[in-house]
Symmetry: C2
Subunit: 342 residues, 2 copies
Amino acid sequence: MPHYNLALLGFGNVGRALARLLLRKQTELKNRYGLTFAVTGIATGRRGTAIDPNGLDLERALQIVESNGNLSAIPNSQFPIPNLDFIRHASAHILFENTPVAYDDGEPAITHIRTALENGMHAVTANKGPIVHAYHELTALAARHGVHFYHESTVMDGAPIFSLFRGALPAAQLKSFRGILNSTTNLILGRMENGASFDEAVQYAQEIGIAETDPSGDVDGWDAAIKVSALATVLMDVPLKPGQVDRTGIGGLTSGDIAQAQAAGKRWKLTCSATRTDSGVTARVAPELIGPESPLFGVSGTSSIVQFETDVLGQLSVVEDNPGPHTTAYGLLADFVNAVRI
Amino acid sequence: MPHYNLALLGFGNVGRALARLLLRKQTELKNRYGLTFAVTGIATGRRGTAIDPNGLDLERALQIVESNGNLSAIPNSQFPIPNLDFIRHASAHILFENTPVAYDDGEPAITHIRTALENGMHAVTANKGPIVHAYHELTALAARHGVHFYHESTVMDGAPIFSLFRGALPAAQLKSFRGILNSTTNLILGRMENGASFDEAVQYAQEIGIAETDPSGDVDGWDAAIKVSALATVLMDVPLKPGQVDRTGIGGLTSGDIAQAQAAGKRWKLTCSATRTDSGVTARVAPELIGPESPLFGVSGTSSIVQFETDVLGQLSVVEDNPGPHTTAYGLLADFVNAVRI
């Protein structure tokens, strides 16, 4: 029975949700896929590092970190070591890269993933930076080392998008896509429909932990542009940088605009789209008036949707409702299983 | 480079759409998947049978059948032979079973597929009968012979549903699903919203080739119940017969009901649902009033939708627009590629 050692680099909300999901699915993975695993390394930002080639006690690690302790309390744990040493010495077959995103250059996540792949490990991430800045390099590197670089949770959390095209849609050519991919702006626009001002809506999104302290990455359409870039880069095989996306945020929409749309039975949505052209891809993020006939109309709150036009099907849409760290964690688990199963 | 011989049993709209798609995708399959193929057998209902272990001229076969000729015009073709002899003697690695559906017992498709599997061939079908009546037997038989029995196109045409759970959603437990799976009734209800009477709407659906001469299979909810059974049987691993589905058709809906719903900003839809219980599955097909907040509201015409509740994601929905024989053919092609690729 194949046995895999896992290293978790990053142990925040997503990393810990992955740990809990691994514990919950341990028996099912064994029974359904003949897959067993041990977590041999956990590296946190501020709560220490633990490595044990025989497998760490994952429940204990969760307890320690969630009660603000330090992983040095775990037997055999190590003093803090640089992340690259952690990757090399965690005795792992799979690296889960869950460090914070850096949108400008994708580092240090790219270097983490590169190191894992060069050492013959599969690499799995929910981090969009490496996709936008180094997808082709990392995918080629993985192929050279006979391992996989998977990233399902980078767009629409754990909803299957990349694996859909990789597995379920062979020989399909993606011609264009369109969707709502940024949940923060979708939530803000929904709150404004319910009477909140723009500032109140942003504040609410911050209070529930969806928006950042500086909300401009969402409000100005950058997060959406990054997701469009990731989808185009991977699914259309055309490297597209976020700066190449024709981008308009929702900052220009007033409460009057929202009310006017509602009076006409419509809604403003921040839509994303990309279309393959003879020379590459044109992509756009902009507020758009949507009527009730469109599947985009009913996509509210933090839900998201993407509609794909291919050369083999009519339009195929995927909608995800109620995402959260647990669904991102599921995408990481699915990547793990799909990287190692035959 | 792996080379596969294909046998097409059934050469109607779907079988011919598959033939055209195979021709169109031949180069792409070779370049992207290292896959080459030859069609070594075609059996039609009334236009003869052709077998050639060296590969038939597929374009010529299409021309002959579409100009009402007989495949006996093809060199090396055979006199009509029984289907089971065709399966055994077509020198094929994959059988595409595209004979007409028999809802009551799934035959003769089940026997065709069983024969293929017993002879070490993969079997691919768009025929719901074998799923509802013999899914577990055929799947076990395929496993014993080291081949696959795939059936993506039995529900929602070529939209990836079964392959989604098989590949992209490992270790996901399906708790319930809900959707609009019968396009004929969805089209009829849409026409009635536009002012047609029930009879006029049925007649329109018949004229465009969507509804049968006897529309009761659709109107009474049988087709929807069969699809619910197929999804529950495969995705929940609980054999569910169409007769076990609590079923109400759309025949009781009057133009007044439709107008009343529209006045309230709502729509009648024939919805399907199934929920896992401690003892199995409860399933239902019935008309339901849907408001614009629901993703089901905008699913019009021949489009369809299914919403999945799993233990690992929030709600995940798949929507298919503009289906047709070409999309059913794509599901068959995808099954072929997924059956043989590693």
